[in-house]
């Protein structure tokens, strides 16, 4: 219903506007709404529909041949699997970092709080080469792991490390405000009533922050699945082993196989839309529970 009503409002212009938008003394709806819809269509919607039209124009055989080839399936597996593992690790450590930032006072707390957003601000390529330098065999961290027989750079483990970096702030920033709102009095009440710290965490804190944790996880996961810049340097990019799905799109493009790239991209895009839908539902749920 939404989109048809929007389209009616646009095409009929001024005459029907009064029935489309609620009456207001504030002017400028036609102009700002028009600019919004025009710019959105031009930059986002039209190019994205080009992708789907191109996919629709492909034969099913061609679509499956590339989009569901063994190499592509391995790449999806890595992209989604590594995002899942990194997301779970970020849930645990993101929660601990958020907890410490909200509840404890310690020297450098504000600095740590500000630098948690580093992955949002640092360009992905910079993060990629820095992580590779750290985790390569002769890097600061790689050197320590090598005697233990653990190789991170140029293996699927490297992909996970890059996605931990990229996803961490999503979890911390989602959980932080909920923890701050929760206050420490409920924990004190639980402790006074004889709950152990673990019981307090499981019965009191976790139910309250659960939705926010899930939201942070979903955001980090969605970002991880599509992530490119920070991953390609550290992954090693071996087909069937450490090749992520976005890289496979680039590879197809470099071979001028536009249809192959389109097939993989549309599969990833549908997955991203489903994720976006889930995130929105989660956020609505979080808000409802927050106000209840």
């Amino acid at each position: 219903m939404d989109i048809s009503e929007i389209l009616v409002g646009v095409s009929d212009g001024r005459r029907r506007r009064s029935s489309f938008v609620a009456p207001s003394v504030i002017p400028g709806f036609g102009l700002t709404f028009g600019v919004t819809i025009a710019w959105l269509s031009l930059i986002v919607l039209a190019p994205l529909s080009a992708l789907f039209l191109r996919t629709a124009g492909m034969s099913w055989h061609d679509f499956v041949a590339v989009g569901l080839s063994t190499r592509a399936l391995k790449a999806y597996q890595l992209s989604f699997g590594a995002s899942l593992v990194a997301g779970v690790i970020n849930i645990i450590f993101g929660l601990i970092i958020a907890w410490v930032l909200v509840r404890y006072r310690f020297p450098g707390r504000r600095l740590v709080g500000a630098l948690v957003d580093l992955p949002f601000a640092v360009p992905t390529a910079v993060a990629g080469i820095a992580l590779t330098a750290l985790y390569a065999q002769n890097g600061w961290i790689g050197e320590l792991l090598a005697p233990l027989g653990i190789k991170v750079a140029f293996t699927p483990l490297g992909v996970v490390v890059a996605l931990i970096f990229i996803g961490l702030p999503f979890v911390v920033r989602s959980v932080e405000p909920v923890l701050a709102d929760l206050g420490s009095d409920v924990e004190e009440a639980a402790a006074t009533l004889g709950a152990t710290p673990f019981q307090t965490f499981r019965r009191v804190i976790l139910p309250a922050i659960g939705p926010a944790l899930l939201t942070g996880f979903a955001l980090a996961f969605a970002r991880g699945v599509g992530e490119y810049g920070s991953v390609i340097f550290i992954a090693g990019n071996m087909p069937y082993r450490s090749e992520i799905a976005p890289l496979l799109i680039v590879t197809q493009l470099e071979q001028f196989d536009y249809d192959g790239a389109t097939a993989i991209a549309s599969i990833m895009l549908v997955a991203a839309f489903v994720l976006l839908l889930l995130v929105n539902l989660l956020q609505r749920w979080t808000r409802k529970r927050g106000t209840a």
Binding site: I6, F20, V21, A22, S24, V25, I26, P27, F29, F33, V35, T36, W39, L40, I43, V44, A46, P47, L48, A50, L51, I97, V100, V102, R103, Y104, G113, A114, L118, P119, A121, V122, P123, T124, A125, V126, I129, A130, A133, W140, V161, F165, R173, P177, L179, G183, G226, G229, P246, L247, I249, L253, F256, Y258, A261, A265, M268, F273, L276, V279
Partner: protein
Amino acid sequence: MAATAYPRRSGQLVLLAIALGFFVLFLLAPLIAVFVEALSQGIAAYGAALVEPDALAAIKLTLLVAAISVPLNVVFGLAASWAIAKFDFPGKSLLVTLIDLPFSVSPVVAGLIYVLLFGAQGWLGPWLAAHNVQIIFAVPGIVLATTFITFPFVARELIPLMAEQGRDDEEAAISLGANGWQTFRKVTLPNVRWALLYGVLLCNARAMGEFGAVSVVSGHIRGKTNTMPLHVEILYNEYNFAAAFAVASLLALLALATLALKSLLEWRYGVHGKASS
């Protein structure tokens, strides 16, 4: 804000140690590595890597692209938030979702959609070639891809704030005889200026640092269509590590400046309040 206290019990200290350890390992160490690697060949090599003609061209192109795409998204963000926050119409939440859409599209896919439209094998490719217009593997394509990637940044900062502030101020201004433009300039804009700056900061950081989308549409022509992040990649793949990290360190400094300003806006002016990222 919950009461904060210095951790005293051993359990609390362990938690603090885990949090700081993870922070140092995954966030601080990469940042430090950038600067250490950049200076590994000495300060002279560092300077030389930055003033080399291809590096300068990359810096110029990055500044140019940000100078075009950021203002475009500011205009869009202001228009969208005015329409969405100051009026009621059906389909509003769908519109907000669509504005956020670029956040959930892989950067590579963002680049690909423009190649499909404007590339040599794309829909408009033959027409563009006939009229001697080049978009893909040229600056316009880089600007388009960057604009797509940074599309939601300004709007999503302004929409919640303007919705929260309501319409009373604007309605009062209008009923006192101000016209729409005066109301926007003298009432609305001062109300949202710090949030706007916040959005511009994040938008700019992403515009200058975008890699995946730009990489697909750029063509990697040295000195012509190479932005700073792409230049970092080229140098790195040529095993010219010190130079790659030197250019990367400029981008890292930009990120640090962005975070410093962002924190200042949060602490001094209460922008965002860390409520939602």
